[in-house]
């Protein structure tokens, strides 16, 4: 099963696991399975309207899904999905 890497601050919602295995063939299916298994993640990853929050980037192996097929990006059983924050700012 594909492995999902969990950023440190979100491990409080995954029983302190830094990675979890989730079944699914696309990024959308895997994130759906992830938030079903660990409901506390949902508010951190998705808006109330069900959109991925603006500060959430998702990578399959080393590729940003925004430059692949977004939530339809295929994921193989040996792939690693990583959740990475998007951060910027300025005065």
């Amino acid at each position: 099963m594909p492995k999902v890497m969990i950023p440190t601050p979100l491990r409080q919602f995954t029983d302190k696991q830094d990675s979890v295995e989730v079944a699914g063939a696309t990024v959308g299916e895997i994130l759906g399975g992830l938030t079903t298994a660990y409901p506390g993640l949902k508010q951190n990853l998705y808006t109330d309207e069900g959109k991925l929050r603006s500060f959430v980037n998702v990578y399959v192996n080393d590729e940003d899904i925004r430059y692949l097929s977004k939530d339809k990006t295929p994921v193989a059983a040996t792939d690693t999905v990583t959740i990475v924050p998007s951060i910027a700012g300025g005065r």
């Binding site: 950023p7 440190t8 998007s86």
Partner: protein, 145 residues
């Protein structure tokens, strides 16, 4: 509360002063006991903003990924992000808020005329609508103390 140890603090100040008059940015690594976050290492990261860097900063997700891996290698956690406001106060601006992530502490350092002046830490919420100030403890050698 977030407490920054002497060594990472010196790294942060040196980085903020070195890139002045541009905004610096970086990652803070350490551990948390539930109430206090202890920063024991700081990683300066490149400001990847494509426009004027005196008023904006941007972290590459790839760099954050590397910081997370570096933290795991050292047995630490990525617990905060720092950046500077050259010639301005250490406040959490609207731009900071709209581009923040609620998973981390955000330390803002004011650098005036090339010298560190003061710093504050903030905790943005998940909807990016507010960022209350977080208690920040700096080493006794902090020049603003």
């Amino acid at each position: 509360m977030i407490k920054i140890a002497t060594e990472p603090w010196h790294v942060m100040v040196a980085h903020a002063e070195a890139v002045f008059p541009n905004e610096c940015c970086g990652a803070m690594l350490g551990s948390s006991d539930g109430e206090t976050k202890n920063v024991t290492a700081a990683l300066p990261l490149e400001n990847a903003h494509q426009g004027p860097q005196a008023v904006r900063y941007e972290l590459r997700p790839e760099d954050l990924l590397k910081a997370e891996k570096e933290a795991r290698t050292r047995g630490l956690d990525l617990i905060g992000i720092f950046h500077s406001h050259p010639n301005h106060e250490a406040y959490f601006s609207e731009t900071d808020l709209k581009n923040s992530c609620p998973w981390y502490s955000f330390v803002v350092m004011s650098v005036k005329a090339g010298r560190y002046d003061h710093a504050k830490s903030f905790l943005p919420n998940v909807d990016q609508t507010e960022a209350p100030e977080e208690a920040l403890e700096l080493p006794a050698t902090d020049r603003s103390a």
